[in-house]
Symmetry: C2
Subunit: 319 residues, 2 copies
Amino acid sequence: MKLATYKDGTRDGQLVVVSRDLSTAHYATGIATRMQQALDDWGFIAPQLQDLYETLNNGKARHAFPFDPAMCMAPLPRAYQRLTGTAYASHAALLGEGEGDLVVHQAVSDVLQGAHDAMVCANENLCVDFSAEIAIITGDVPAGATPDAALEEVRLVMLSNAITLRHVTHSVQSHPSASFSPVAVTLDELGDAWDDGQVHLTVQVAWNGRKVGMCDAGTDMTYTFGQLVAHACKTRALRAGTIVSTGTLSNAGFEKNGQTEWPKGYNCIAQKRAMETALDGKATTEYMRFADTVRIEAKAKDGQSVFGAIEQELASLSA
Amino acid sequence: MKLATYKDGTRDGQLVVVSRDLSTAHYATGIATRMQQALDDWGFIAPQLQDLYETLNNGKARHAFPFDPAMCMAPLPRAYQRLTGTAYASHAALLGEGEGDLVVHQAVSDVLQGAHDAMVCANENLCVDFSAEIAIITGDVPAGATPDAALEEVRLVMLSNAITLRHVTHSVQSHPSASFSPVAVTLDELGDAWDDGQVHLTVQVAWNGRKVGMCDAGTDMTYTFGQLVAHACKTRALRAGTIVSTGTLSNAGFEKNGQTEWPKGYNCIAQKRAMETALDGKATTEYMRFADTVRIEAKAKDGQSVFGAIEQELASLSA
């Protein structure tokens, strides 16, 4: 099924069930009002949401309304935990960060942005970068769970855009926010595209309307979601509603005629600048400016948008 | 006023108001059931809780019951954000960590432990350390708030004990959990002891019943709570319910007869080991073992326990 959270003026919004083709939606009122509620009691609540989802897909939900992604908060608008990993070693290699070992960090989660919310930033001179990522939401994961056991606790999958201020050194300041696709989907919605903790979909990234990335997210994923979660829960349990992000998507470059090529493009500007530096000795692409737009989307084999699109503009915090 | 969260089998527990002398309590039902609810809507809810608190202190609350700290979850049992800083530069200096600059990290908050809950650990050979700290809970803090403005948004103060596994290198694995005092108190409860973002109380730390620390928390605090919060909110807002911890308390040592002395003791075992190394060339105090106990408490001038005591035992995760 596909779930979203509609804006209603509160911090947690209203849980809605969205049809597979993203055309209609229905409030989940009567089942659960908030996404965290559903995650806290998934075994009891999910089957009821699934029933509503099927009724909605069959066009028989009585109070269905047209789905508007601009009305969406993040599917989980605030989370008790967000972790972000370095799932794609080719990203770290490109940026010269670390040895490709798996690193998982705690990340900001007190307010998560909706797919059409502005990316806000106090100062466009801080080298503002986007980052196309995939994220999961877990149920309760016991301490010490193996990667396989950890995958059993994956509840929902989303796309994400995390902002990095590349010229800010303190980590708590340099990663001010993250945004999420309009809908979060259960694993069955991905079909074959979900395999062994990897999402085999092409993630399209456009910057100011220009297609800059088309990463095969299931290729070159060095550490699967199972490994990310198992790493995080090694010494303690993770509680329901934990978001785990891949970190920036990346397809490895390859040699051709003595030069490295990256035909799948880039998923953050820092990748592009590293490619330029590798090829030409210097980076020429500048970071984002106010009013720049970013669009991130993934389509299924049938051309259907799986999660809806993240479509954001960079805006001034003070505006 | 003094607030606590009673265990009721749910993830968020039940908000209770506790009398100033910690002898009686009263459910806040009818005002707010969960602590996060109160924090989300503090301006509206806090005055009602304050009324109940005064009635309780006057012995006139009709359904008051004896307060039992063993029934307490953390005052905020799960938080949308927990940040931990390096407020005491003498701690960093002793441990040879950094240059004494202020560093603030995102920390685990999906489940926070109650004052009498066991500190659980899979393996006692990971060099398990306690850490006596002070923590605040904020309201909504706007991005870019100055230290003075940030202090206006401090809602509650608590004691905290954070576990560190000293022999685990990955940060997400080495800081598995944190525990909090039975009650969280508003600033007026601290009276003169709250001054300019510092808590001028002596925090008593006992390990296996032996008093090991009696830190003057208001002395040697290099970075005040105002500075910690201002650092964290430099590029983004913080939302209501953000916990900000000092990191390990520490009083600086001083020279006497050519040797450094630390008459106020230690607030984590790593401090003690660093003192031993400085004095004798090697650390002899071992880290915690299963069944070890830690007790952390702070008393007001009148001898009254301000927050109640953290009293924990180290237990095996698998037990």
